[in-house]
């Protein structure tokens, strides 16, 4: 491992700013990291890539003291450090833009940017004038146009991301870590970020950059480290590798399509056929604008878009989970009233949510409780445990759940937790399945199983509409792709097999076809 690290070093001018050696971390038996090495050199942009759930964010959390590693060490300029809190990492010169936004909604922009580093007067007194002046100056310098006094609560996701960025850059740190900073930015904003990164490089600041978008990496990074299933696969110079190689290293197999089940061409819908799901003019104030779509039985439709583009909002609206939304939903041609998920379920819909722990599972309860939630509707209110158990067992075996029903869901791996979610929904025998990031944070093996499972359902005639931020996944799994941007449908790719990542990206980032030509490739 040592040798590998030396091989890849660009300059050997003293120890790297930060070196991570053999870090391991597990959560409730899920091994998120097992033995990762990494180093970040001054003036270098180091990219970190890996599939969803490879452990990138966990590694970052370990480096910034959010999590403590189970074992392994972190060296700053050659000296070992144990960060117990984020503040200690910050003092050591590390700042981070986390993947999930880490702002405080109840504070304003300036208070957030300088949180815990406020300009003071006479000890603990807040110097408000300087706070706002400093922030204004900072944002001006970074060319970010946000009102410093605006409450963060009122900002869009993209703006929050920019504030977050400003916060990380405002620290005079020696290492800036960015976990998917471009995930919600428009093309213009992304370009701007890259010029900022250039500036950092010039100031000899180390940057650790996580992204799913490989083009970005080839544009800005010096070296790249690939993680897979919690372990480092390889670190190499960007100039020595190719996109194809990176993909192969990330996925761990040379043939990507093995991961995804075969697509059969759908028969053209017969004239009288009704779509399984039809959405007409769905609106939700501030979130969705006039979205209409159809999904045919047996079809898998992928929803692509930037973070905050409204994919989750759309799925929630269809599922009746957004009270502010207006629009009609038709199931098999019949308009249904969906003012609550309950009604949606009764109409034959099912929805796999984006965040398992927040929206999908009560992790402290047993798998049985979590699976049986959707079929608790016996008339007399008496709970036939035996019957329910056999039904749950059947559902669990269909998704090949590798855990006992009586186990608390909290103890399961991410993949198995997701299978619990799947199991609870297939137990309802839905005709329309909505999935929001169905493979987020789970390992490749489990992903492949879930893809196969979804395809299997489609083959049985279920209509599947899924949102994903993982473009290869959208391209690989979907029959048809819809792209969302800022609450609207911004593009459709009727045949997913012929679409490319670039095309989708451009549509998602809100660039008209005409502009695209002038963009640097």
């Amino acid at each position: 491992m040592e040798e590998a690290a030396h091989d890849d070093q660009i300059e050997a001018s003293g120890p790297p700013f930060l070196r991570v050696i053999g870090v391991r971390k597990s959560f409730d038996g899920v091994h998120a990291l097992h033995g990762v090495d990494l180093d970040c050199l001054e003036g270098e942009v180091h990219a970190l890539v890996g599939e969803n759930g490879a452990g990138k964010s966990t590694l970052i959390h370990v480096m910034t003291g959010v999590h403590r590693p189970d074992s392994g060490s972190i060296l700053i300029r050659g000296a070992e450090r144990h960060f117990r809190q984020p503040s200690e990492a910050e003092q050591a010169g590390i700042s981070a833009v986390y993947q999930e936004l880490s702002l405080i909604d109840d504070l304003d922009v300036a208070e957030n940017i300088l949180l815990h580093r406020e300009p003071r007067r006479w000890g603990p007194l807040l110097n408000r004038n300087r706070l706002y002046d400093d922030c204004r100056a900072l944002l001006k310098d970074l060319e970010i146009d946000v009102d410093v006094r605006a409450p963060v609560r009122s900002l869009s996701i993209a703006r929050r991301q920019l504030v977050e960025l400003a916060r990380a850059l405002s620290r005079s740190s020696s290492l800036v870590i960015m976990d998917e900073p471009t995930a919600s930015l428009t093309i213009a904003e992304q370009e701007h970020l890259f010029t900022l990164l250039e500036r950092l490089r010039k100031r000899r600041i180390a940057v650790l950059y996580v992204s799913h978008r490989l083009e970005e990496i080839f544009r800005i990074a010096d070296r790249v480290t690939v993680l897979r299933d919690g372990a480092k696969v390889r670190t190499m110079r960007v100039s020595d590798t190719s996109k194809a190689e990176l993909v192969e290293l990330m996925v761990g197999r040379s043939l990507v399509h093995e991961l995804y089940p075969q697509r059969k061409p759908l028969p053209a819908p017969s004239p009288g056929a009704k779509p399984a799901l039809e959405v007409v003019s769905m609106n939700s104030p501030g979130r969705l604008q006039d979205v209409s779509l159809k999904v045919w039985p047996g079809e898998i439709v992928g929803l692509a878009g930037l973070i905050g583009s409204g994919r989750s909002s759309l799925l929630h609206s269809i599922f009746g989970a957004d009270r502010d939304s207006r629009g009609s939903v038709l199931i098999a041609g019949r308009e249904i009233r969906v003012k609550s998920p309950r009604q949606a379920i009764a109409a034959g819909m099912a929805m796999i949510c984006e965040d398992r722990k927040l929206e999908g599972l009560a992790i402290n309860l047993t798998n049985f409780a979590n699976i049986s939630v959707t079929f608790l509707n016996s008339r007399l209110g008496i709970f036939h445990v035996g019957k329910a158990r056999s039904r749950a067992r059947e559902a669990a075996s269909r998704v090949a759940l590798k855990a006992r029903l009586v186990d608390p869901t909290r103890l399961l791996s991410g993949g198995n937790q997701q299978k619990v979610v799947l199991a609870k929904w297939i137990a309802t025998k839905p005709s329309v399945l909505l999935c929001d990031e169905p493979t987020r944070g789970i390992d490749v093996g489990a992903k492949a199983e879930i893809y196969r499972f979804l395809r299997g359902l489609a083959d049985e005639g279920v209509a599947v509409l899924f949102a994903s931020s993982d473009l290869p996944e959208v391209l690989g799994l979907a029959d048809r792709i819809l792209v969302m941007s800022e609450g609207c449908l911004a593009g459709e790719f009727p045949d997913a097999q012929t679409a490319t990542e670039d095309q989708i990206m451009f549509a998602a980032a809100g660039v008209e076809e005409s502009d695209r030509k002038s963009e640097p490739a």
Partner: protein, 330 residues
């Protein structure tokens, strides 16, 4: 020109989401409800005989001081998403101990005040440390503390006991200009708390911790220390309120603090501080305490029968709280 000013097309995302929706109305209510309530009450009060007499105004103010001061500390706690039920009995304990120790001796005032204030802070720190280290729900912990403190009061004395030196009684009876000293303390306390809350880094951290604890931690804030500090402040304010209680009663009455914590909490909530944390209104809290006292005063002056008073007060609090904390359940 900045690269980032280009307005995105469609742009529901960049719309500042301050629509006049339900949540906004609730927020406005939380901000101004208490003042509106006060204005209405005063208008009703003006129709009562002698409402505006100097004597009545002073009575009102004196009555506000104790609840108001305890509620100030409670505001910090609730803004940080906690609750302190022990503060009422703490007030009782402090008042009983202060009276017992002084026993009419003016020379003991300063040491006794110091000791009892320290006691309040110590109880608060205990609460905070237990909550932070074990993760126990603050309502349970401080409820246990409430029982324990009540017991300690009765271990010390089971009957009214002792007296305070006349000088000490000036805290309640004496005046600075038109204002009773206790009200001066409340005023100063309110200003200090407001200042600390809005103009120091600590205040920002309390909001951050109450609003989103994990993110506050990520920003480098020592969440544990902030929590301990807010309970310590609550303890301190409870002790100050307890001393004023001692001055007001002039004697150590073991049951004196009973139930005061609930009045304090109601005052805080009426003032617009949200139980969900992340938002605190110090001056609103004072307004809330004033509202409670004014209500009782006006009902008395209007000669409303006591039982009816209880129902009216209960309903008003119920309605106010329903309006304030209602959010769209989903």
């Amino acid at each position: 020109m900045s690269l980032l000013t280009a307005t995105p097309r469609g742009a529901p995302n960049s719309v500042v989401r301050e629509r006049l929706d339900y949540a906004t109305v609730v927020r406005q209510l939380q901000l101004y409800g208490v003042w509106v309530g006060l204005v209405v009450l005063v208008a009703i009060g003006l129709t009562a005989h002698d409402f505006t007499s100097a004597g009545n105004i002073q009575n009102l103010l004196r009555a506000v001081a104790i609840i108001g001061i305890a509620a100030l500390g409670q505001t910090f706690v609730i803004a940080s998403r906690g609750i302190d039920l022990s503060v009422g009995q703490l007030m009782g304990l402090v008042s009983v101990l202060a009276v017992g120790f002084m026993h009419g001796d003016a020379s003991l005032i300063i040491p006794v005040v110091c000791v009892t204030l320290a006691l309040g802070v110590a109880v608060g720190i205990f609460n905070g440390v237990a909550i932070v280290t074990t993760g126990i729900h603050p309502m349970i912990l401080t409820f246990g503390m409430l029982s324990a403190l009540k017991g300690i009061i009765f271990l010390y004395t089971d009957r009214t006991r002792g007296s305070v030196p006349p000088v000490f009684r000036q805290l309640d009876l004496g005046q600075l200009g038109p204002l009773p000293w206790s009200v001066v303390i409340l005023g100063v306390g309110a200003v200090v708390c407001w200042f600390v809350f809005t103009h120091t880094t600590f205040g920002r951290y309390v909001i951050a911790v109450g609003s989103n604890e994990p993110n506050a931690r990520k920003a480098g804030i020592s969440v544990g220390r902030i929590r301990v500090a807010v309970y310590a402040i609550s303890g301190l304010s409870g002790a100050v309120a307890g001393l004023i209680l001692a001055a007001r009663l002039g004697t150590g009455f073991p049951l004196a603090g009973q139930g005061l914590e609930l009045s304090a909490i109601v005052a805080v909530v009426l003032g617009g501080t949200s139980f969900a944390g992340g938002r605190g209104r110090m001056l609103g809290t004072v307004g809330g305490a004033l509202l409670l006292v004014l209500l009782s005063n006006i009902l008395n002056l209007k000669q409303v029968a006591p039982y009816v008073q209880d129902v009216i007060t209960g309903m008003i609090v119920l309605a106010a709280i329903t309006l304030y904390t209602a959010r769209r359940a989903r």
